[in-house]
């Protein structure tokens, strides 16, 4: 019996438990494909037991669960957390309210997601407005005496001020440690305010990777908002997305489909109708797999069993999988053929321009797989990549969703494939090992250090840019602009130093501290000696 996601529970099992997610690994992508044992994990997800000796990619012996090997680093730097992800998902709904039950610091990134929200609304042709997230602004006395009354009042304020269609409550480290019972308060307040009140257990310390926050957000939406008695809309497809430009409509119109984007920039009704769609897909399995699987398991909406829609191979396969569901196989074949013919001249032109150019990708995991396909379609060499985590399997565990394997099989290996959670200090080693002319990044904190190493960055803020056939052209054209920026980066490199010690910069292995932690003692005693002298 396949293990179903439990919608009765308000909390979500962490990714590391559910999927075996890791945050530190270094090697060739092909080795990570092997170690991940997607096939074996897929079978297990389906409820089929695999004997221990037949399971691949186990780290060490004796442990009952089969876990991927993972490096442990003593030095970590600023990262996101699940609580921030919930802000960027639930806090970016147009007619629902998120209440952060936390001290004010947890709301300090509201301004960032506000910027993303406003960009997203513009791209989706919706009226631009500032987001409206509440923070209970907890103080020292609340830590001592509890803060439930503040939360109750915040729920009432939210109702009175904005008349939202639903109210979400997010947990923070502080409120989880002092044991705030947001489940009970949600139950208690729901009848009073007359709209769903949805607790989200996304305290930052809960999961070692922020992407668990996507699952928590989607879980809350599926639990309380998605319609239980759907009336099928045969031309509607769910695309689990962030704030990207609406390119999916252009891609899917020829198949007679309308796009229902979720969660960012959506309203309550758009989320509710997710169960009425004919299928669910996404631009990134890291983001969309949980929602797609919940909709499949609990609402009978199938998820698209295909690679992600990047490059020719991925986009072809993705369109064919959708065509099968909507019964438009024949038309789709013609569409694919004409699209290839349409974009090919421009792609050939771009390939000419990118001869000898090397690229590097530093983004979330599944998205990186898509981006690297696009770069290689453009003839750009990609010898290395840093992804912020790795899921050896996705919730859907579908036949054709093994995105890393799809990349390696179709476009070749990536010799230096690094899993590392936004660790800027590793970049001197990473870029000594792998030469590149540019990096594509998402998530803050890395591009500025790459910049000082002379490498210009494409901050891929509109995540839909590389999607589909036109995505290859869009990406190529933007990259030409980015390559020109190299002049700026060279100036920077000539005059600005990295904030890291000479000792550290002289190391060759970005993970040397994991492998030989004892070198730290030597480095420190030398530092003291130098200081003394």
């Amino acid at each position: 019996m396949a293990k179903k996601i439990n919608l009765e529970m308000t909390s979500v099992e962490n990714r590391e438990m559910r999927l075996g997610t890791i945050i530190a690994w270094d090697g060739a992508a092909s080795d990570l494909v092997k170690e991940s044992d997607y096939e074996g994990r897929k079978e297990k997800k389906k409820g089929n037991d695999i004997p221990r000796e037949k399971q691949g990619g186990c780290c060490g012996n004796g442990s009952k669960a089969c876990r991927l090997c993972e490096l442990k680093t003593p030095l970590n730097q600023q990262t996101m957390c699940a609580n921030a992800i919930v802000e960027c998902q639930i806090g970016n709904l147009t007619d629902c309210i998120l209440i952060q039950h936390s001290p004010i610091g947890c709301a300090a990134d509201n301004a960032w997601f506000n910027l993303a929200f406003k960009m997203g609304l513009t791209r989706r042709h919706k009226p631009v407005q500032n987001l409206k997230i509440f923070c209970t602004n907890l103080l020292e006395k609340d830590m001592v005496f509890g803060a439930s009354d503040k939360l109750r009042q915040a729920i009432r304020d939210a109702k009175e001020r904005f008349a939202p269609k639903a109210i979400f409550i997010s947990m923070a480290c502080a409120t989880a440690i002092i044991g705030e019972d947001i489940d009970s308060i949600a139950d208690e307040m729901e009848p009073e305010v007359g709209v769903p009140v949805i607790p989200l257990h996304c305290e930052g310390f809960r999961s070692k990777h922020w992407s668990t926050g996507f699952d928590i957000s989607q879980h809350g939406v599926a639990q309380k908002i998605v319609k239980r008695n759907p009336k099928k809309q045969k031309d509607l497809i769910n695309i689990v997305a962030l704030w990207g430009t609406d390119y999916f409509t252009d891609i899917l119109k020829p198949l007679g489909l309308r796009v229902n984007y979720m969660i960012d920039c959506a309203n309550y009704d758009e989320l509710a109708q997710a169960s009425e769609a004919v299928a669910t897909s996404t631009f990134c399995h890291t983001l969309g797999s949980y929602m797609a699987t919940v909709l499949e398991q609990h609402f009978g909406v199938p998820q698209i069993d295909a690679p992600q829609p990047y490059g020719f191979a991925g986009t072809d396969a993705w369109l064919r999988a959708i065509a099968k569901i909507v019964g438009k196989e024949k038309e789709t074949e013609e569409y694919i053929k004409s699209e290839h013919e349409r974009v090919m001249p421009k792609i050939l032109e771009l390939r000419e321009k990118f001869k000898g150019v090397k690229g590097f990708v530093m983004t979330g995991s599944a998205y990186a797989h898509g981006l690297i396909s696009v770069l290689r379609e453009l003839g750009i060499e990609v010898d290395g990549s840093v992804v912020f985590h790795h899921d050896p399997v996705y919730d859907g565990a579908a036949e054709n969703q093994n995105s890393l394997k799809h990349l390696v099989d179709n476009y070749g290996d990536i010799p230096h494939y690094t899993v590392s959670k936004t660790q800027a200090y590793q970049l001197p080693q990473v870029f000594r090992r792998v030469k590149t002319d540019f990096v594509i990044i998402r998530h803050q904190g890395l591009a500025p250090e790459a910049a000082k190493l002379g490498i210009p960055a494409l901050a891929m803020g509109d995540e839909h840019i590389p999607v589909g056939y036109d995505g290859m052209i869009r990406t190529g054209e933007i990259l030409l602009d980015i390559l020109a920026r190299k002049r700026f980066n060279q100036v920077l490199q000539r005059h600005v130093e990295l904030p890291y010690t000479k000792w550290w910069q002289s190391q060759d292995d970005p993970f040397i501290l994991s492998k030989e932690p004892e070198i730290l003692d030597k480095a420190l005693s030398e530092k003291l000696k130098k200081k003394g002298a």
């Binding site: 030095l75 970590n76 730097q77 600023q78 996101m80 957390c81 699940a82 609580n83 921030a84 209440i99 001290p103 004010i104 610091g105 947890c106 300090a108 990134d109 509201n110 301004a111 960032w112 506000n114 407005q129 500032n130 409206k132 997230i133 509440f134 923070c135 907890l138 103080l139 020292e140 830590m143 503040k150 009042q153 915040a154 009432r156 304020d157 009175e160 001020r161 480290c173 502080a174 440690i177 002092i178 930052g204 310390f205 070692k208 800027a424 200090y425 803050q444 904190g445 500025p448 250090e449 904030p499 890291y500 010690t501 000792w503 550290w504 501290l513 932690p517 730290l520 420190l524 003291l528």
Partner: protein
């Protein structure tokens, strides 16, 4: 907007970060390395309000994505996080260049009660320049955090001193780095003015600072200069007790010739140094100032198509006061709504209000102290700006109201996402014109 009857202490649209945001106070010290004993996400969150989405300031050295962080996880909450912190400190000392390392403990570490001090002490006793600060986010704003961090550095790093004082040397306690988006440019202008007036200045933050070693000179100063309505007073009082240093408190950050000249005379008088240098400097700067002002006057008097007159300022105590004073008393604009959002301690509020009551001979405005952005916007929305174009000096959060009122919004405080601040100042002799350029370029249709 709907009438609101409740005020639960919740905040929509925050105008400040939390205590641990003072990591940016450390990052502003040359050679300063913040080490965040925090959950994952804490530094990321503070980064946005205080640095990135605050004029896209960027950072140098160990700010931004370079800040080491414990990223406290479930195991650390259950079993204690000191081992992880120890590893983090050891590796940070080896990997990050620095002259002063400051461990900031956030909510998680404080609530589970880890003994951070004993971990830090071990390294300090070995000879590393390292201190720790208790900055659990529930302790208040990043301004509170700023004062906690400064105090921790003074007590644990600068230490005791009973040597000589240096006549004419002043410790400068002024803008809160990063929080005040023009802090780099502001420090340049104030330091330029003080030095040209014959003072020696211990600059503790920013590009002109000697960094950690300049902090070691703090006890040698003749006196402390606090330029802010309230932030920094706690520090000055600590230094008075600790090193017997008097302090001069000037609540109004000077903008324009008259205020800046008065500021110089007050400081020079307090320092008791010769007035020869300062008066020569005042003369030179005043001539320049009025040369430019005369040019500006032509535009200001002859522009046919209307200019904004009634204005609001939404900001922290320091800049609400400074901008309001300059625009009201020097340009003759009419202040109609001044909202102070930085939660100044109650004992300073009356004094702050008093300054705003006496802006000029016949100009007075009653400030409101509001932290909840929803109530700020509601109050702004209900403001009558007369018949002209409303001018709002505020933040990104006021953009919806500005649009509704067809006003001119100039973002001057956190969060600011429609301005890029590099080397900019709106204060002193030189900055006053940059402020006028910014306001009137927008008024004549520039973006």
């Amino acid at each position: 907007m709907a009438e609101t009857k409740t005020k639960s202490g919740t905040i929509v649209h925050p105008h400040y970060g939390c205590t641990v945001g003072a990591a940016y106070t450390v990052a502003a010290i040359k050679g300063g390395v913040p080490i965040a004993n925090c959950g994952p996400g804490c530094m990321y969150k503070q980064f946005f309000l205080i640095s990135f989405d605050n004029g896209f300031q960027g950072s140098a050295g160990a700010g931004g994505g370079n800040i080491p962080s414990a990223n406290v996880g479930e195991n650390d909450i259950v079993f204690g996080g000191t081992k992880k912190l120890d590893d983090l400190i050891r590796s940070s000392l080896a990997v990050l260049k620095g002259d002063l390392y400051v461990v900031l403990t956030g909510c998680s570490g404080e609530l589970i009660g880890d003994d951070v001090e004993s971990v830090v002490r071990k390294y300090r006793e070995q000879g590393f320049p390292i201190v720790c600060a208790e900055t659990g986010g529930f302790k208040g704003t990043n301004l509170t955090g700023h004062e906690i961090v400064v105090e921790s550095i003074i007590n644990q790093y600068v230490g005791d001193y009973d040597g000589e004082k240096e006549q004419g040397l002043v410790n400068l306690w002024f803008d809160v780095p990063y929080f005040h988006q023009n802090w780099r440019g502001d420090y340049l202008e104030i330091v330029r003015i003080l030095r040209a007036s014959g003072l020696k200045v211990n600059v503790l933050f920013g590009p002109q600072s000697g960094g950690a070693k300049e902090w070691k000179n703090i006890p040698k100063a003749q006196f402390n200069l606090v330029i802010s309505p309230w932030v920094g007073l706690k520090t000055a009082k600590l230094l008075e007790r600790k090193y017997g240093q008097p302090y001069l408190h000037i609540p109004e950050i000077p903008i324009g010739e008259e205020a800046t000249t008065a500021f110089i005379r007050q400081v020079v008088e307090f320092a008791g140094i010769s007035k020869r240098k300062s008066e020569a400097f005042i003369k030179e700067e005043s001539e320049l100032y009025y040369y430019f002002l005369e040019h500006f006057a032509e535009f200001f008097s002859e522009y046919w198509f209307g200019l904004p007159s009634q204005f609001a300022v939404i900001g922290d105590s320091a800049y609400t006061l400074a901008y309001t004073k300059f625009l009201a008393s020097q340009i003759g604009m009419i202040p109609v709504k001044q909202i102070i959002t930085d939660n100044p301690p109650p004992r300073y509020r009356e004094k702050i209000a008093e300054y705003l009551h006496n802006l000029a001979e016949d100009v007075s405005v009653e400030p409101e102290f509001i932290e909840d952005g929803y109530l700020v916007e509601e109050s702004l929305s209900n403001t009558d700006f007369g018949s002209g174009v409303p001018l709002i000096l505020g933040t990104t959060w006021e953009s919806d109201v500005a649009r509704e009122k067809k006003g001119l919004l100039i973002e001057v405080g956190p969060p600011t996402t429609e301005e890029v601040a590099i080397n900019k100042t709106y204060i002193g002799y030189r900055g006053a014109f940059t402020l006028l350029e910014r306001i009137y370029s927008a008024a004549v249709g520039g973006k």
